[in-house]
Structure formats: structure tokens, C-alpha cells
């Protein structure tokens, strides 16, 4: 009896102690979330539940790294099976004679083995493979937790191994599942050999195993919310609260005052939840182009620095204490300005943390304090004054349309079927203008009734918003929306993914609604309608998915199908589709100083393409990509090996508008 009473008293004390610590911490975090900005993340229940099932139950994103995915699946599922053990073990002591039955009992033992395998794999991962993505994470904490989990499974086997002796002799009940716990039963044979089966020896052994199991479980419960392992509880709600709005929409509603994040109250409550859900796995860091370029940015460290700063403030009893600014203090300007807003971090995060809105909000705070790259500042002023990033007069926007033989309608003056939103680079960049002209010719050949807004078009504001200049974005958007509202058209057509993103995802908050198509989608449709007749262009190419087309807008199939229709043989790079690797131009980076960039993302991407067998063409579908990658190919001196080609150029050859020789490699 003393064993039971002893363990019961101890257990109750442990439950109360750990529950108190657990609840206190959760309440503290909850209070921070309560004070944060509102955001609606509890709508569309069905979709949310489905996403939790897929992402938690099937570990969809976790399995993108198979080794880590598998080891995590073992340990994760072990936690579910652990519940059986907790019920069984507490039952054994509190309600003598309780049993989970012969089916559930052996499940515990099976999962003890799988968790043990998972722990060994995790150790191998952290000690031998040592992925770079863990750099900056709290690895001591990771080892501590692995140790605790190891202690729990050892405890389980130990108390199970002594229970067959404790049950009849101390508790005076039967142990019908003694053999079902096959691991415990195997170990119990050892105790028989050693003669540790008497009431005293078995009681001590059982109590040891019990405390190793339950003691660590409750210690774990108390410790969890103070460590990165809060994700065990936070991951499920955080995935449930994921963003279901269009991914490319950075700002859901018009902002009255400012988008700047200066205090933790400027975050949304989901942002706060993100901080405490981060598992420090570093998958975001591994895919970040800025990090790969050698810049000081790691999306993981942004989250961790914010979380640590919040924890410091929560722990500080002094109400008048002064803290460093979040933007510029807790997180350095160099980190924030390095972001290309490519979204690879968000795409890969297994717990659906949203890094980009936080970075944009923090950038906005820097911008309000005047801390911004001088070149980016010039571009912001050009957008404000001239409506384009080139610092060129607005009147020169339609100059590309002069001197080509096809007439281009003025959509401000007459109705058109397709309204072409051209964008800055396609309009002004001399390296891209010939493509813009080619598109005009192809539309004409297909008999499309199209027009442009001439000088009434201004930059879409997509990048201004991502630099953190909400007011400028809004004023640019308003100018475009005014011009568009005066035109008559059926759909909007653009070659520029950045404009597409703004028109499709950022303008609807101002009441603007229109179907927006990327040229790859539109031309695919024209081919399938028989309005463009293609003959095969048998070249081998690889294709770079632009971030604002593929990742943010999910348009990955249209460009591929368009190339397939043209008879092009596509060889994929390892990183493609939503997992594409940024060219380094987004989020305003294209205008910022390159100091600190050891290895340009665009160069890395060209090397990725060159590693493929017999690839002569690097195809793109974004005007900025044409500039970025052409510059890289030239800088790397590989013009003889690979040529950057816009899909439009291939289509032009396929429909007989240009000779195949136009696709020849540069020969020196």
C-alpha cells in the first residue's frame, strides 16, 4: 500500500506543479496575443481541419526532407502513443486493476522502439550530418529534449518490466497485459535471473521506472512552454490558423495609419503565435536566397530574435525598462533589407510561420525612421514623382510601342478585349523592350483585340508595399485603379508577375475586381483555341519559376504546358515550382546595394542550371528575370554554354514570327 500512496501523492503533486507552470506560461502568451492586432484566422473550418490533417497527420511539409521527416514522424507519433502509456500507468496506481487491454499495450512497446530509432536518427542528424540549417538554433535544448524523451521511453520499459511482480505481490491485482508489453516482459526475465522480483526490489524498480516515465513527462510539460518544444502543443493550432487568403496578398485590408511594426502589439496575434511555434528547424534558413548569398538574414533568426526579445520583456519586472527598437535594434537593418520577399521560407515552414509580413512591417518602421538604402530611396521617390522605378518621365512609358508595325490601341479611349498592364521593366528596360514588342506582335497575330493604358499606367506598387511603403503603394494602386475604371475591357493581361500579384491579390482590398492573366496562361489558351498555330521548336531547356508567379500565385503549370505545346524538352532544376530559388531581385532588392553579397542568388541559380546535362537555354517568364539572369550569365562568362530566353521568344519561333536562329547561343 505504501508504494501506491507514495506514488499517488507524488503524482498529484507533480501534476499540480507542472500544470500550474504550464498554464501560467500559456496565459502569459495568451495575454500578449490578446493585445496584438486582430486578424481573422478561424473562418473556413473545413479547409483548416483538412490542412491540419494533411500537415500534421501526414507530415506533408516535414517529408520534404525525408530523413528528418521520418525521424520526426517516429517521435511525433510516439507522443500520441505516450498518451496510452500515461493513461495506463496512472490507472495502474490510482485504480488498481485498470488495464488498457492487450491491443493497446503492445502498441506502446512498438512505439518505444520507433521513438528510440527516431532519437538515434536525430542524434545522427545533429552530430554527423550537421545540416547548416541548424546554425543559430539552440542545439543544447534539442539534445536536452532528446535526452528527456529517451528517459521517458526507458522509464516506460522499466516500470512495465517490474509491474508483473508488483501487481500480484504489492497491489494484489492481476497483470493481464504483462506479456503484451513485450519489451518490458523481455527485461523482466532479467530481473528473474537477478532475483529482483520480491516485493521490495520490485517496488523500488517499479517506482524508479514510474518516476522516470511520469516524472519526466510532467517535468517536460512544465518545461515545454518555456522552450522551442512548445511547438508540440502550438503546431496544431498554428497550422489551423494558417493563412488561407491568396498567398500573394501581403496586406489583407486597407491600412488606416501605418503598417510599421514597432512593438509586439503591432504584430497580429497569429504573428505572436508564430514566434512561440517556431521549432528552430531552420528549413527557412536553408532555402533563403539572402542567406545563401552570404547576407546576414536568416528567416529563422528573425523569428527567434523577436521571440527572445519578447521573452526578455515578459521576464522583466521593471515597467519603465527601455528596450531596443524591434526594427533596427532587435533585428538589424541589414537583415531586414536583405529580404527578397521570395516567400521560400513561408512555403517550406512545417508549422506555417509567416515571415514575410513581419519583415515588411519591420521594414516599414525602418522606412518611417528614414533608414533605407539610398538607391531604394531614389526608386521610391521616382515611383512617387514619375510612377516608375527608372526615374523616366511617365510620358516615355509607351515609347516601346512606337516604331513597331502593329498598332496598339489606347484602352483609355476605346474598348478593348484584353487590357495589357505592361509594367515598369517591360516598358522601360532597353534589355526587355524587344520582348514587349514581340508580345504585341504575337497578340496581333492571334487576332487579340488589346490595348494599353499608355502614360496613365504607373508602377503596380507591388514592390513599394514590400519595401514597407504602404502609403506609396496605395497612391500608385489608386492611380492605376482610376485609370482602369475608366477603361472598358474583359480581362487584364500582363507579362510581369509582380504587377500580376498586385492586380490580383493586393488591389481587391480597394474594391478592384478583374480577371488577371499571365501571358503564359493567356497564350496557352490562344494555342488551345487554335488562334495560334505552333510548330515544334526542339530545344532542351530548363525553366526558372518566378517567385511572384509560381510560389505566390501558384502559376507553375501554364508556363510548362506552353513550352510543351511548343515542342520544347524541359529538364527541371532540383528547385522548381513552388520550391523555386529566387533570382534575388524581389522586394526591392534589385535596386539596393549589393555590399555583403558573397554569391549572388542569380549566379547560384545559373550554376544549378549548368549542372543539368545538355541545357543550352534557361527560360524565364518575368521581365526582371531577363535582366537579372542575363547579367549573371555575362558576369560569369558562360554565354557560350547557356542563354537566358523568355518563353515569349520560344513562342515567337514556334508561331513563325522569328527564325529559329534567333535562339542561337552567343558565340564569341
Amino acid at each position: 500500500m505504501t508504494l501506491r500512496v507514495f506514488l499517488m501523492i507524488l503524482t498529484v503533486a507533480m501534476i499540480m506543479g507542472s500544470a500550474a507552470l504550464f498554464i501560467r506560461r500559456i496565459l502569459t502568451i495568451y495575454h500578449v496575443m490578446q493585445k496584438a492586432r486582430p486578424v481573422n484566422r478561424t473562418d473556413r473550418l473545413g479547409e483548416r481541419i483538412k490542412s491540419v490533417l494533411v500537415q500534421v497527420g501526414l507530415h506533408r511539409r516535414m517529408f520534404r526532407i525525408s530523413f528528418s521527416g521520418l525521424l520526426h514522424y517516429f517521435i511525433f507519433s510516439g507522443f500520441i502513443i505516450l498518451l496510452i502509456d500515461v493513461v495506463e500507468t496512472l490507472g495502474e496506481i490510482f485504480f488498481p486493476g485498470f488495464t488498457v487491454g492487450p491491443i493497446l499495450a503492445p502498441l506502446v512497446d512498438i512505439w518505444v522502439i520507433l521513438v528510440a530509432v527516431g532519437i538515434l536518427m536525430a542524434l545522427y542528424n545533429r552530430l554527423v550530418i550537421k545540416p547548416e540549417r541548424f546554425h543559430g538554433s539552440d542545439e543544447k535544448d534539442a539534445f536536452l529534449i532528446l535526452g528527456l524523451i529517451g528517459a521517458i521511453i526507458v522509464g516506460i520499459v522499466i516500470h512495465d518490466s517490474f509491474f508483473p511482480f508488483v501487481a500480484p505481490e504489492v497491489l494484489h491485482v492481476a497483470d493481464p497485459v504483462a506479456r503484451a508489453h513485450f519489451l518490458g516482459y523481455a527485461v523482466s526475465r532479467l530481473w528473474v535471473v537477478l532475483g529482483w522480483t520480491g516485493p521490495t526490489a520490485a517496488s523500488i524498480g517499479y517506482a524508479f521506472g514510474y518516476l522516470l516515465d511520469m516524472g519526466v513527462v510532467f517535468a517536460f510539460l512544465a518545461y515545454l512552454p518555456y522552450s522551442k518544444h512548445l511547438h508540440i502543443f502550438a503546431a496544431v493550432p498554428n497550422i489551423f490558423w494558417r493563412n488561407l487568403e491568396p498567398a500573394g496578398q501581403l496586406v489583407p485590408k486597407p491600412i488606416e495609419d501605418t503598417m510599421a511594426i514597432r512593438t509586439f502589439e503591432d504584430l497580429t496575434w497569429k504573428d505572436v503565435a508564430d514566434l512561440y511555434t517556431c521549432t528552430e528547424c531552420g528549413r527557412c534558413q536553408a532555402v533563403c536566397p539572402a542567406h545563401a548569398a552570404g547576407q546576414p538574414l536568416s528567416p529563422k533568426m528573425i523569428i527567434l530574435q523577436l521571440r527572445d526579445a519578447l521573452n526578455d520583456r515578459l521576464a522583466d519586472k521593471n515597467p519603465n525598462a527601455e528596450y531596443p527598437d524591434l526594427a533596427g535594434g532587435v533585428i538589424a537593418p541589414e537583415e531586414l533589407w536583405a529580404c527578397t520577399t521570395c516567400g521560400a521560407c513561408q512555403e517550406v515552414c512545417p508549422v506555417f510561420i509567416e515571415h514575410v509580413p513581419k519583415i515588411a512591417g519591420l521594414r516599414s518602421a525602418l522606412l518611417e525612421d528614414g533608414i533605407v538604402d539610398p538607391n531604394a530611396q531614389k526608386v521610391l521617390m521616382s515611383w512617387d514623382r514619375q510612377g516608375n522605378s527608372f526615374g523616366q518621365p511617365g510620358r516615355k512609358r509607351p515609347l516601346w510601342a512606337k516604331g513597331i508595325e502593329v498598332p496598339i490601341k489606347d484602352a483609355r479611349k476605346e474598348p478593348v478585349d484584353w487590357l495589357w498592364f505592361v509594367g515598369d521593366f517591360a516598358s522601360y528596360d532597353p534589355r526587355v523592350q524587344h520582348l514587349t514588342q514581340l508580345i504585341a506582335k504575337m497578340l496581333t497575330q492571334a487576332g487579340v483585340d488589346f490595348g494599353i493604358l499608355y502614360e496613365s499606367e504607373v508602377n503596380s506598387g507591388n514592390d513599394a508595399l514590400r519595401i514597407g511603403e504602404y502609403g506609396l503603394f496605395e497612391s500608385l494602386a489608386q492611380k492605376n485603379i482610376d485609370a482602369l475604371s475608366k477603361a472598358q475591357y474583359r480581362r487584364i493581361f500582363t507579362t510581369d508577375p509582380h504587377s500580376l500579384n498586385a492586380l490580383k491579390n493586393e488591389y481587391p482590398k480597394f474594391g478592384f475586381q478583374a480577371p488577371v492573366m499571365h501571358y503564359t496562361e493567356a497564350f496557352l489558351e490562344l494555342i488551345d483555341q487554335g488562334r495560334l498555330v505552333v510548330s515544334p521548336v526542339p530545344i532542351r531547356v530548363t525553366y526558372h519559376d518566378p517567385c511572384y508567379l509560381g510560389r505566390w500565385n501558384g502559376i507553375t503549370e501554364a508556363p510548362r504546358q506552353l513550352m510543351a505545346r511548343c515542342g520544347v524538352h524541359l529538364v527541371e532544376m532540383p528547385r522548381h515550382g513552388a520550391q523555386s530559388f529566387c533570382c534575388g531581385a524581389g522586394g526591392g532588392r534589385i535596386w539596393m546595394d549589393e555590399t555583403g553579397i558573397a554569391d549572388r542568388p542569380a549566379n547560384q541559380r545559373i550554376r544549378e542550371a549548368l549542372a543539368l546535362p545538355d541545357i543550352q537555354f534557361f527560360t524565364v517568364a518575368c521581365p526582371k528575370d531577363v535582366s537579372m539572369f542575363s547579367a549573371s550569365v555575362t558576369a560569369m562568362g558562360v554565354e557560350e554554354k547557356v542563354r537566358v530566353v523568355d518563353i515569349a521568344e520560344i513562342l515567337a519561333v514556334a508561331i513563325g514570327l522569328q527564325a529559329e536562329s534567333s535562339l542561337a547561343l552567343m558565340t564569341v
Binding site: L367, E368, Q377, L380, D384, P393, R395, E469, Y470, G471
Partner: protein, 255 residues
């Protein structure tokens, strides 16, 4: 210190300048931006204010057209007051006439320190600071930078040719023509300017003007090109020969 910054706007040179048939700038079709040097003066004033809690900065512009936005921008950047001197003024106003209006206003306010851009792209005479100082009987220096506040004086740096620099001290009141601020003029977000437009108001003060001798612009015209660049084509061999020949011709090659 009570600091004033005299600012004006100038044609945006991004746009091509057009002349009317009468040989005047077609100001109605042009867009205007704050004068770059005045922006530097404003930045310098704001830096001084940040370094001295008791100082205030007043941005002053003559209403020669649409100057409200420029003044609200100055407020958004951190100026305390925005003053618009209204009256029968237009963009063709000479600097002599401007100086009369500005000096009269500054006299009524009793500023300790008045900063303005050393010159502007549309006048190039650099006279505003000197003329205002003369009318006020205040100390003056132009083409200066690195202004520092003392208790009743200011110091600044003037740079001469031949690698000489001078540190100048002026007893206030003083007027300075600023060459460059200590750092790049700050960026101000569109929302901040918009908020200013909603929450703050400009002080409209009747500008007092008196007669000033004026210059007459007889005509404005684009410069006539005296020679043109010669294009050498893209034949590498030939290009190399021609470059070598040219260097030899100009005696730039040493053998």
C-alpha cells in the same frame, strides 16, 4: 535656437523642359520638385534640432505655385512649423524679389539661424542667403557644411580649392547657404505626409514685397551642340588599332 529653412521648388529635370513660343519655360506643363540644395539645408536643420532639444525648425516657402506638399513633407520629416508666404507671386520671381519677401518675414520672426540651399538649378546665382543676410544685417556664409550650434554662435566648414578648409564662426543671427547636409536627406513615407496634411496646417502669412531691381531674360534656348561623338563600330581588331593610334597621337603612350 530658432531655426528657419528657406525652401523652394524647381522644375523636375526628369521631364524634358519645353519652351513656349515666347522663349519662356512652359511652366504650366512642368512638374516641380523641392530644390535639391534646399532639401540638404532642411536635413541639416533637422539634424541640428535633433542634437539640441530646445531648437525649433520652421520651413518657409513663398507661394509661387503648389508649395503645400513640399511644406507638409518638411513637417513630416520633423519641422515644427510650415510657413507659406502668400501674395501675388509666381515662379518667374527673381531671387532679389524673393529675398525681399523672405527677409521681411524672417525679420518679424527673429530667427537665430536661417539655412537655405546654396543655390538652385533654375537660378545658379547662389544669392538668396547673402541677400537675406544683407537685408537682415545678419552674419552670412555660403557654400558651407557641417553646421554646429554654440550658445550665441554657430560654426561651419567651408572648403576651398587646393586642399584648404576653414572652420568659420558666426554670431547669431546668421544666414547660411548650405552645400550639403551631414547625411543624405531622409526619406519620408507617403502616409506620414498624408497624415500631416490631415492633422497639421500651414501658417499662411501675407508676404510683404518691395521693389527690387530685376534682370530681364531676353530669351531661353537649348544649347547648340558644337561637335558630336564619333562612333567607331564594333570590330574589335579595328577598334584596338584606333585606340592605340589615338593614344599615340595624343602622346599618351610611353615607349
Amino acid at each position: 535656437m530658432k531655426i528657419a529653412v528657406l525652401i523652394k521648388d524647381v522644375p523636375d529635370l526628369v521631364e524634358e523642359l519645353e519652351l513656349t513660343e515666347e522663349g519662356r519655360l512652359a511652366v504650366d506643363d512642368m512638374s516641380f520638385v523641392p530644390s535639391e540644395w534646399d532639401d540638404q539645408a532642411l536635413e541639416e536643420a533637422l539634424i541640428l534640432k535633433e542634437g539640441d532639444a530646445g531648437s525649433t525648425v520652421t520651413a518657409v516657402a513663398i507661394d509661387t505655385g503648389d508649395v503645400d506638399n513640399m511644406l507638409f513633407t518638411a513637417l513630416a520629416k520633423g519641422a515644427d512649423r510650415g510657413v507659406k508666404l502668400v501674395g501675388d507671386f509666381n515662379r518667374e520671381m527673381s531671387n532679389r524679389a524673393r529675398a525681399e519677401v523672405l527677409a521681411h518675414y524672417c525679420h518679424t520672426e527673429g530667427f537665430d539661424l536661417i539655412l537655405t540651399g546654396v543655390q538652385a538649378i533654375d537660378d545658379l546665382d547662389g544669392q538668396i542667403a547673402g541677400l537675406v543676410a544683407g537685408r537682415l544685417g545678419a552674419a552670412h556664409a555660403s557654400v558651407v557644411r557641417d553646421v554646429a550650434l554654440g550658445s550665441t554662435s554657430v560654426t561651419c566648414i567651408q572648403e576651398y580649392s587646393g586642399g584648404k578648409m576653414a572652420e568659420l564662426r558666426l554670431t547669431v543671427p546668421a544666414v547660411l547657404g548650405i552645400q550639403a547636409a551631414q547625411k543624405t536627406p531622409r526619406y519620408v513615407t507617403v502616409s506620414k505626409v498624408r497624415q500631416m496634411q490631415k492633422s497639421a496646417s500651414l501658417e499662411e502669412i501675407e508676404g510683404e514685397s518691395s521693389e527690387a531691381p530685376a534682370l530681364e531674360i531676353r530669351r531661353l534656348y537649348p544649347p547648340v551642340a558644337s561637335s558630336h561623338a564619333e562612333m567607331w563600330g564594333d570590330d574589335v581588331e579595328e577598334l584596338a588599332d584606333r585606340i592605340v593610334n589615338l593614344l599615340e597621337e595624343k602622346k599618351l603612350l610611353r615607349s
